[in-house]
Subunit: 254 residues, 2 copies
Amino acid sequence: MTIKTASILVIGDEILSGRTKDKNIGWLAEQLNEMGIDLIEARVIADGEDTIIRHVTDLSQATDYLFTSGGIGPTHDDITTASVAKAFGKAVIRHPEAVRRLLAHYEGTDIEFNEARQKMADIPEDAHLIDNPVSAAPGFQLENVYVMAGVPSIMQAMFEGLKDQLEGGQKRTRITVQCAIGEGTIATIMGGTSEAFPGVSVGSYPWFKPGQFGTAVVLTGRDAAQTQAAAESLAKQVRDEGFGAEILAPGQDH
Amino acid sequence: MTIKTASILVIGDEILSGRTKDKNIGWLAEQLNEMGIDLIEARVIADGEDTIIRHVTDLSQATDYLFTSGGIGPTHDDITTASVAKAFGKAVIRHPEAVRRLLAHYEGTDIEFNEARQKMADIPEDAHLIDNPVSAAPGFQLENVYVMAGVPSIMQAMFEGLKDQLEGGQKRTRITVQCAIGEGTIATIMGGTSEAFPGVSVGSYPWFKPGQFGTAVVLTGRDAAQTQAAAESLAKQVRDEGFGAEILAPGQDH
């Protein structure tokens, strides 16, 4: 089975100014990893038409799926929809189903469905709507690009609704070996394990507490048996050097 | 005065897998904004030599400063130093001053200055060391690229030490107008203000609490008087529509 690749494009001046801290990259990264889709790259860019067009073109060509967040609200700087449409040479239309959903959402409130809010029903032609169970205004899918809101709760709800359409690969097996040894001491063993088990990736996370230190070594691979063998080999080598090493049961590692 | 531009490159498979959540983009974004340097773009990429070389080349050409984080530790997947050197056609040398600092750091501990740890003294020729007051292993500056550790506390300490060398621009004035009005209702006023005051950027942050909602409008500009005038004009228009609008004093807004 071919593993699908993905990229993320976070669109918004407020992230680049530091005023708002991005939470979407980390959340989506976890989801995609869980589904067996390889996240290749994430970018944070400004709300500028040329900028958005350039990065949407780049990343939609480089990966199987591109997920964007931000810039689809009602204000003047919400230009993601128009820019993504332009990147694919599509016109933007006022989408009847999107209008219907927004009208239903505002019905019975004293919120006016004014021109600014109507803009949230503008969708590129040939795009498919992405449901927004939080605040109605939909995202959309155009070609391999999934355009979602920037507000984390809305983005997450949108992704939960669309993720069944994505083609996931085989989930990776992940095994943590907790070692009572410094990262610099275990580095050679890790490098050797990485070479001996080419399908297994070996990452290290050193930690310090008063009076204690150690390194969590995380082994990940598509092949569960290979990954287990790599973990056992690494743990044995650490013990042979006279240090403690414990292979954690799944779920114990965070 | 020309405003300097910057980009950030976060290097690390552990961020793309979702295991570790990046904190460096948000922190650096705040620092740069505070200094009057324009952060143009941030990217998160994998620990791959070709990948690092390509993005370092791209971003170091596109912006005045490039800040990288991650991949300068002792393990086999710490390949940032070698890759950045290659991007600039430089050799990597074992740097005597870096060796001295690491030796001094490990002296009197039972940590062995083994081959893996010695790798942290490998620095591209012609690079300047960046001090690491936390764990000694230095970062480095090569051309307009500042290579720092991935661990947030170390990256922050490194940046604090180097930031006086950066050429900051005029800090932007930022004024928040707290409006008792929905984002969709105020959108037209915001768009008009943005057009009437071209040097002032106008962003909106809608918020909801039980029984209450509103929009924080944030105006930022290099010209303090212009930004103030834009804030007053916006607040007046909101009040003229019959809604509340309060210009917050600096420091009240977060």
